[in-house]
């Protein structure tokens, strides 16, 4: 009981927000202490709600090119934590935010300082830091991390305008997804874990063709021109962020099929930084050694082109990293479970959890190759990281009361 008293006092002083619940339809999506206080002086009808969260919000950064919020990675990640992530009910229908019971995902495009016309006038792409308000991004992420709700602007991707803000309440897991999560040094400090999705040019071209060829206005040349025109800004501002990421998922064309340019079979590398607090890299057989593994053989039969794994230590931008690589694709369920049983340090709570998660979303793109597998594994690692952080934070006040 002593512990809880100390804890409450601490949170009341630093991490509470007092709000008039005019927008209460957004709903409470996390467990928190709520005090209802009726003001008896002038306004009879007003109730002041003091909402406090324990300040244990874990902030994850995800850097990915164009488009946010509804991407496959986010859906896999929120699914690992349980619950379906949906746009906020009753709010702006073009909101980029996703909210589930434990997670809130925001799109960093909402921090654009210039809307589409503004950028066109200045001749600046969305990739350029000049089009983004990093000060506001830093302030709001800091506020969420310390348990204070914020009014975040909305960037409407359809109209290209900046819409009126929406209320974001501090969740347990706060994911910021976009082009520049690790660009600003102050925001980088706030991130508990960061991921960079590095898609190689050939694969990006193949994916964009698949996505855009159905559109009336597009042709092969226009898709190519679009990628080429954005490349200079991308290489200058977005690409350098990968050196700061704790995990990089690199997607390359396969080496198993010579001259495959459809981008169907992929070679995916999970590059994990060593020495990151609460993060233990996944490994194959023996940590720190170099392994090359082809699971298909006598015990497991795979169809063409098969599966090839490799694992080993490397250096990446001057850091020590461990790289787990998968080339090829899964055909059947038993291939997946076989592989899962040979991977170590995947932070699953029960045998077959990775397979279960992959099967749950079998219709998502990448469910049969390394992209889906590594995204799911990273999701489990983030859950493990969250639980470790929470355990360490609740351990601290216990220590304080003991002395």
């Amino acid at each position: 009981m002593a512990v809880s008293t100390v804890h409450t006092v601490q949170s009341l002083s630093s991490t509470c927000s007092i709000s008039n619940p005019t927008k209460s339809h957004l709903g409470f999506n996390q467990k928190q202490l709520v005090f209802f206080k009726k003001t008896t002086t002038t306004t009879r009808r007003a109730t002041t709600v003091i909402t406090c969260s324990a300040g244990d919000t874990v902030v994850i950064g995800l850097a990915a090119d164009s488009g946010c919020g509804k991407s496959t990675f986010m859906r896999r990640l929120t699914s690992v934590f349980g619950g379906a992530a949906e746009p906020p009910k009753g709010g702006n229908p073009d909101s980029n935010t996703l909210i589930s019971d434990t997670t809130t995902v925001i799109c960093l495009d909402d921090y654009h300082s210039l809307d589409r016309t503004g950028r066109k006038e200045k001749g600046v792409t969305a990739l350029d830091p000049r089009a983004n308000n990093f000060d506001l991004m830093y302030e709001q992420v800091k506020a969420i991390k310390s348990g204070v709700a914020v009014e975040k602007p909305i960037y409407n991707h359809v109209t290209g305008l900046i819409d009126p803000p929406e209320l974001i309440k501090p969740p347990k897991i706060f994911v910021i997804e976009g082009l520049h999560p690790m660009y600003d040094a102050r925001v980088r400090e706030l991130l508990d874990f960061s991921i960079y999705l590095d898609i190689s040019n050939e694969v990006k071209f193949a994916w964009k063709i698949q996505r855009d060829m159905a559109e009336r206005g597009h042709s092969l040349e226009s898709i190519k021109a679009s990628i080429e025109a954005r490349k200079p800004d991308f290489d200058a501002y977005i690409d350098p962020q990968k050196q700061y990421a704790d995990a990089v998922i690199e997607v390359l064309p396969t080496e198993l099929i010579p001259d495959d340019n459809e981008g169907k079979v992929l070679r995916v590398r999970l590059i994990m930084k060593e020495g990151v607090k609460y993060f233990n890299p996944v490994y194959l057989f023996d940590e720190g050694s170099t392994i090359s593994w082809i699971p298909c053989g006598r015990k497991l039969t795979c169809s063409y082109p098969g599966i090839k794994f490799s694992y080993g230590p490397e250096t990446y931008f001057g850091h020590e990293v461990s790289v787990l690589e998968m080339d090829g694709q899964f055909d059947r369920l038993d291939e997946l479970i076989y592989i899962e049983s040979h991977l170590s340090s995947i932070s699953t709570k029960f045998y077959g959890e990775v397979t279960q998660q992959m099967l749950k979303h079998a219709d998502f793109p990448g469910s049969n190759n390394g992209t889906g597998l590594f995204q799911t594994i990273v999701g489990l690692k983030i859950r493990d990281l969250y639980e470790q952080i929470v355990a360490s934070k609740s351990g601290a006040p216990l220590e304080a009361t003991k002395t």
């Binding site: 509804k70 600046v124 991707h157 359809v158 206005g217 597009h218 954005r230």
Partner: protein, 142 residues
């Protein structure tokens, strides 16, 4: 037609039966259409009564979808590609060219998201998510 002359005044009474038939239908038009549309709608509806049925679904109101449909976004994508090609034909290295193609990319992504959303959205499910207590959305467990 009945004409009577009383002193210097002339009274003309016209049987109202034929005219009454016309007047009866117009109040329906008045109730459903806004007054300023009255002039153009009144006559076209009277002359083409089949149009009334298709427009209002056999007497019920037809609710048009309000959100941006993929059709609207599709138009935007096509437009933006044309504008980008124009902007770049003048000066391929300038910021305007890059910004124009960036816009194309943004709109293509939005179009793709809209397509995905439309693909797995069920109008009844969406309605029931917001209003679970209505008759259509009630579920019974026994």
């Amino acid at each position: 037609m009945h004409i009577t002359a009383l002193g210097t005044t002339l009274h003309i009474t016209i049987p109202m039966a034929g005219v009454a038939g016309v007047i009866i239908t117009t109040p329906q038009v008045l109730a459903l259409e806004s007054p300023r549309k009255l002039q153009s709608v009144k006559f076209s509806l009277l002359n083409n009564p089949w149009k009334r049925c298709t427009k209002f679904g056999w007497g019920r109101m037809y609710v048009h979808p309000v959100a941006a449909t993929p059709e609207g976004i599709s138009e935007k994508v096509a437009e933006s590609v044309k504008k980008a090609e124009e902007a770049c034909s003048e000066n391929p290295v300038a910021g305007e060219c890059a910004a124009a193609w960036d816009e194309v990319e943004e709109l293509s992504a939005a179009a793709s998201h809209a397509r995905d959303k439309k693909k797995d959205s069920d109008p009844l499910e969406d309605y029931c998510k917001e209003n679970p207590e209505t008759d259509e959305c009630r579920t019974y467990d026994n």
